[in-house]
Structures are given as C-alpha cells and as structure tokens.
C-alpha cells in the first residue's frame, strides 16, 4: 500500500487528511478516486511531494510505503 495526503481544502474534499491506496501509477490511482476529488487533485496549481520532496506528476509511479502529498496553493502564514 501507499498513502495519499491531502492539504488545505483538499482535505475537506477527500473527507480525511490521508487515504491508503494501492501502489502503482498515479494515473491509475486517480482514475479510481471520486471524480470531483480526482479533478481537484489534477489542477495545475496543485503541487506534489513524494516522501517529502517536490516532484512532477508526469509518469509518477507509487511504490509500496510511499507517501504522496497534494499541496494546493499556500495561503500564507
């Protein structure tokens, strides 16, 4: 299994701060989510961090134990 982490308003949309998912390609994983959530996660402004490091989404594949965080635009401190 891998884990998705949702920050900011994405947490409300997902209904939880985290969600366990099967490891595999990000594209497959998004296809298995609720359409509204999948669409929000794919917004251009949402950045991704894999195990604490910012990454590009193209071609991303999650391995066992990976944590993928979805980071909407920050609202400032």
């Amino acid at each position: 299994m891998a884990r998705l982490v949702f920050l900011g308003r994405l947490e409300d949309l997902a209904g939880a701060a985290e969600r366990p998912v099967a490891a595999g390609p990000l594209a497959d994983l998004l296809a298995g989510l609720e359409p509204a959530l999948a669409e929000a996660l794919q917004a251009r402004k949402v950045r991704l961090a894999l195990n604490g490091t910012l990454v590009e989404r193209d071609g991303l594949v999650l391995a066992e134990g990976d944590e993928l965080a979805f980071l909407p635009p920050v609202s400032g401190g």
Binding site: G8, G52, L71, P72, P73, V74, S75, G76, G77
Partner: protein, 148 residues
Amino acid sequence: MAADVRLATEPFDPSAEIGTFARAHEAAGGVVSFLGQVRAGEGVEALELKHYEPLTLPGMRALAETTMARWPLAGLLILHRSGMMQPGEPIVLVCAAARHRRDAFAAADYAMDHLKSDSWFWKRERRGGAWHWIEPRAEDHADLARWG
C-alpha cells in the same frame, strides 16, 4: 551563527522571545522584530493553520539560510505557529539582529514577505460557526517581487 527557526504548535510569548533574542545578541546595535497576530473583530472566531511536516520546517530553515546569506546579521529568529488560534494570539515572530539597523529591517521584511507567500501553510478561518479556507492573495506575490 545559525538562525533559530521553530514551528510551534502551542501559543508562545512574544515579549519573552524578543527579550531572550535581544540579550543573546547584545553586540548587535539593532534588533528588529515583527509580530503577526490573529486579527480581532471582522467576525473571525478562530484561525487554524495547517502545515505539512516534511516540508514546512525545512522550508523555513532554507528561508532563514537565504536571509542570513543576504544581509550581515548577528542573529535571526523565525518562530511560526501551527494549529488552532484565537483572535489576538501571536501567529508569527521574526527577529533580526545586526550591527546596523537597515540590515535588520530589510532582513525581517524579506523573511516576512517569504513566509507570507511561499511557506507551506494552509489557513482557514471560522466565521459564523463555519470554516472557510483562505485563498492566496495577489498582494503577497507582489510583495515577493520586490526582492527580485
């Protein structure tokens, strides 16, 4: 010397922090501090800041390093709250100590502009019993552009 960078999940005492910082840098001629606090009034009942552990504190540390490299500082403190806050409570404290005041002013200003616009915090307010996420403000990005 290394900056003091902290992410606090409980309320902090700004005057105690400023006092400790100033005493630790007595050789510096100037200490500039900025305190950001939750606005009272305007119907805001509570403010919640969320952070992402793997990114937020490392990002603050990187900002402190950049700030220290840009101005000749004797010391720098960046202290930021996360979690639930009430109106009037401190959110962020930046202190910069330098031999000359202009360096301290500029460094504190620079650190604040970057904390506001590109640090990893998500903020929501409770108004009328309902939570509302705060969207990024265009002004914050304009503030950032001042620094090139």
